[in-house]
């Protein structure tokens, strides 16, 4: 089609992407270099609070925000350069931890603790999702046509459950005297507290994520399996290939573009892990990068939010995703160029 028609078709999508993706990203980038503060003044203030017998009055010197002529708090925005990033990365503490050769001290710093968990979460769940997705797709493909519909339905169910609800249901299954914990305690004849240490919580989170995402991979691979070239399969059988060889030399190469696709999607999704941390209330043991950004944005009792640091943390998360995706995208690009030639 000619240029004009093409532009007319993609125009609305591009406009929406600019409005809802590119512009917000640009504002977050800009915000990460600024800090907005109310202008404070120091005053002596007397506050009285009730007790059962009367009142207790305290006089103290307080810093309170100044209110301008329009009745609103006066705020000033100042350019601070990389200060927000420094506050998030806490490099002095990192250097001190390395000087003491202490992995523990390094892992106690919020950003790096979150980064470590996010990376291990992403990189451990990826092969599991691909593996189980493939197994489920092959099973669906080999099942009798009469029950294939119900089988597809049942295998898709985990994906339908909202992540927050899913995380909460896993929590309730395992916390305190939850059903599955009680079963494990009975079976292993010992006391088990799944939520009392970090590694069990991490395991449960990974288990939940694989269970939740594998159906997506399965349905994508199942669709791919429908287009496998039957001639190639038949000639492989005639040549005496075993099941495993058929899988390795015919089916997997055919599915490779889909495997790359699922990898891309999963890397981007898993890196933003958040619902699991909230659903399991695991903030004492396990935190993720997305959760850290959220924590910066949560207002404290006085209504303050660390928007500068939240923006910096967001940008660092985005840089992390981009770095993770580079190898995958490079592979896709060289593949594409190879095919063009």
């Amino acid at each position: 089609m000619n240029q004009k028609t093409f532009l007319a078709f993609i125009g609305p999508s591009v406009l929406m992407m600019v409005l809802f993706i590119a512009l917000p990203l640009a504002t977050v980038l800009k915000q990460s270099f600024y800090v907005t503060q109310p202008v404070y003044q120091t005053l002596e203030v007397e506050t009285c609070t009730p007790t059962f017998t009367g009142q207790v009055c305290l006089k103290e010197i307080k810093t309170i925000p100044t209110i301008g002529d329009n009745g609103k708090v006066i705020k000033q925005t100042s350019f601070v350069g990389f200060v927000n990033y420094q506050n998030v990365l806490e490099l002095p503490r990192v250097i001190k931890a390395f000087a003491n050769n202490s992995w523990r001290q390094f892992m106690v710093i919020d950003f790096w603790k979150a980064l470590r968990f996010t990376l291990s979460f992403t990189l451990v769940t990826l092969p599991l999702v691909l593996f189980f997705g493939l197994i489920i797709a092959l099973c669906i493909n080999n099942v009798a046509k009469s029950i294939r519909g119900p089988v597809i339905f049942v295998s898709l169910l985990p994906m339908i459950i909202t992540p927050v609800i899913g995380a909460l249901s896993i929590r309730w299954l395992f916390i305190g005297d939850g059903i599955l914990t009680s079963f494990l305690e009975w079976w292993l004849v010992r006391d088990i507290s799944m939520f009392a240490q970090a590694w069990t919580i991490e395991l449960m989170m990974m288990f939940y994520r694989v269970w939740h995402v594998a159906p997506f991979a399965a349905i994508v691979f199942y669709a791919g399996l429908q287009t496998v070239n039957q001639d190639t399969v038949e000639s492989a059988i005639i040549d005496g290939a075993s099941r495993w060889q058929k899988l390795r030399y015919v089916i997997l190469p055919h599915l490779m573009p889909l495997i790359v696709f699922v990898t891309l999607i999963h890397l981007m999704d898993a890196y933003r892990v958040f619902e699991e941390v909230v659903g399991f209330s695991s903030q004492a043991h396990v935190i993720s990068l997305q959760w850290l950004t959220y924590d910066f944005l949560t207002s404290d009792l006085m209504g303050n939010r660390s928007i500068g640091r939240a923006s910096a943390s967001s940008m660092l998360t985005m840089i992390g995703i981009v770095l993770l995706l580079i190898p995958v995208l490079r592979g896709v690009w060289t593949d594409y160029k190879g095919k063009r030639l």
């Binding site: 506050t47 059962f52 506050n87």
Partner: protein
């Protein structure tokens, strides 16, 4: 035979019945309220039983819509800053009032109190710099709750300090009566920070030095952390994910013998539908720290927006006075520890009153850095309790985190 006529007969009967019903309802609406309110009013508050009782009582005056939302404290600052304000009446606690106070979005009430506030007791008038800014209606604090049958079975005296609690727990732990001797609202975040603040104030500590600088890394701070650690040794190992609802349920299901829990949870222990320990849980004063009870007093009350007409303010104040009158308290006596005339303190309130009588400090919400400090504490103490850091390092890191937040928001 004549279906159409039968239908119209039915319709007429239905219409008459509905009209009668509506007129009965509308006549009973004015029953609880001394005056008929004609101005549209909206209120935003937290969603717990006492607030529900108050807003229902306010609704009797007519034209009052109440929004009860657990996330009210995130919504109120912006809603009240709108001109005109999105809500005329706000339900607040001593903590959540501060952002509204600082932004100037709530109005002084001296003239309104003079005109319509004759029913109010002096202790209900929250004064800031000599101006009445809020009307308090109830108080709340964390205090000790214990299983009377368990303690008397092993002849343990009611603990009055944390050391006594730990000693009692050691005895109870030897027998299989309860799953864990102690329960604690130690969920990382706001709850954990609140526990530290309660204990630290109980030991007479001060949070800030000159110019909002933090000052918790001292002997009192270390002692507080060590006390918390000694208590956790007798708790459910999942204490870092346990909030007050979880601990309340542990009590109701007979899994713990002692806990420091919010007074508003006291009634739930005797709720026959949920609780297996009806009548067995007794309320007592919070354990004493070295200076005062290890607890903080909170009050809940009502504020009124600045951005509304004086006519609306008048009506809103009168409606609120109806909402917190003696009639409402008599009908909902056990929903809260009311400050209002006509309240009869039952057994459920004994702990809260004892704690306040013993001299518990009010939650220091007037300190401008308290918000950032509470958040830093909530995030930083877990590392000490899990053994990743020692007490001094944990406190130093909390002070550093607070300093970053305070510098960022301009307090330091």
């Amino acid at each position: 035979m004549c279906p159409i006529r039968q239908e119209s007969n039915l319709m007429t009967i239905k219409k008459i019945a509905t009209t009668i019903a509506i007129s009965l309802i509308s006549s009973s609406v004015w029953a609880g309220c001394a005056f008929e309110n004609n101005i549209e009013l909206k209120s935003l508050s937290n969603s717990f039983d006492a607030m529900k009782a108050v807003t229902e009582s306010m609704a009797e005056c007519g034209n009052v819509t109440s929004v009860l939302d657990v996330d009210f404290k995130d919504k109120q600052p912006e809603a009240f800053a709108a001109n005109p304000s999105l809500y005329q009446i706000g339900g607040v606690s001593n903590g959540t009032m501060v952002p509204l106070l600082n932004a100037g979005t709530i109005r002084p009430l001296d003239d309104l109190v003079a005109k319509y506030g004759s029913q109010l007791k002096p202790s209900q008038l929250i004064k800031v710099n000599g101006e009445i800014m809020a009307i308090a209606m109830m108080v709340n604090n964390q205090h000790l709750m214990y299983r009377e049958d368990v303690l008397s079975e092993f002849r343990i005296a009611v603990p009055t300090t944390h050391a006594e609690m730990v000693a009692a727990a050691a005895i109870i732990a030897k027998y299989d009566v309860v799953d864990y001797p102690i329960g604690g609202t130690y969920k990382a975040g706001w709850n954990l920070g609140e526990e530290f603040i309660n204990n630290y104030l109980g030991n007479g500590g001060a949070f800030f030095g000159e110019g909002n600088a933090p000052s918790i890394n001292n002997a009192t701070g270390v002692a507080t952390l060590n006390t918390m650690k000694s208590l956790t040794e007798h708790m459910d190992p999942e204490y870092l994910v346990s909030d007050s609802t979880y601990v309340q349920q542990q009590f109701q299901q007979g899994k713990i013998a002692m806990a420091t829990l919010w007074a508003t949870r006291a009634g739930a222990m005797d709720n026959a539908e949920e609780s297996e320990v009806v009548g067995k849980v007794i309320m007592a004063s919070a354990p004493m720290g070295s200076a005062r009870p290890a607890s903080t007093n909170w009050w809940d009350g009502i504020v009124f927006a600045t951005n509304m007409t004086d006519e609306q303010a008048d009506a809103a104040f009168r409606v609120a006075m109806e909402g917190i009158d003696t009639e409402m308290v008599l009908a909902n006596n056990d929903d809260a520890v009311w400050l209002i005339d006509g309240y009869v303190a039952g057994s459920a309130a004994a702990g809260a009153i004892a704690t306040a009588d013993n001299g518990a400090a009010p939650y220091p919400s007037s300190s401008p850095g308290m918000g950032a400090m509470h958040t830093a504490l909530g995030n930083g103490i877990a590392a000490f309790l899990t053994g990743e850091k020692d007490a001094a390092t944990a406190l130093a890191d909390i002070e550093a985190a607070y300093t970053i937040s305070a510098t960022e928001s301009g307090l330091m």
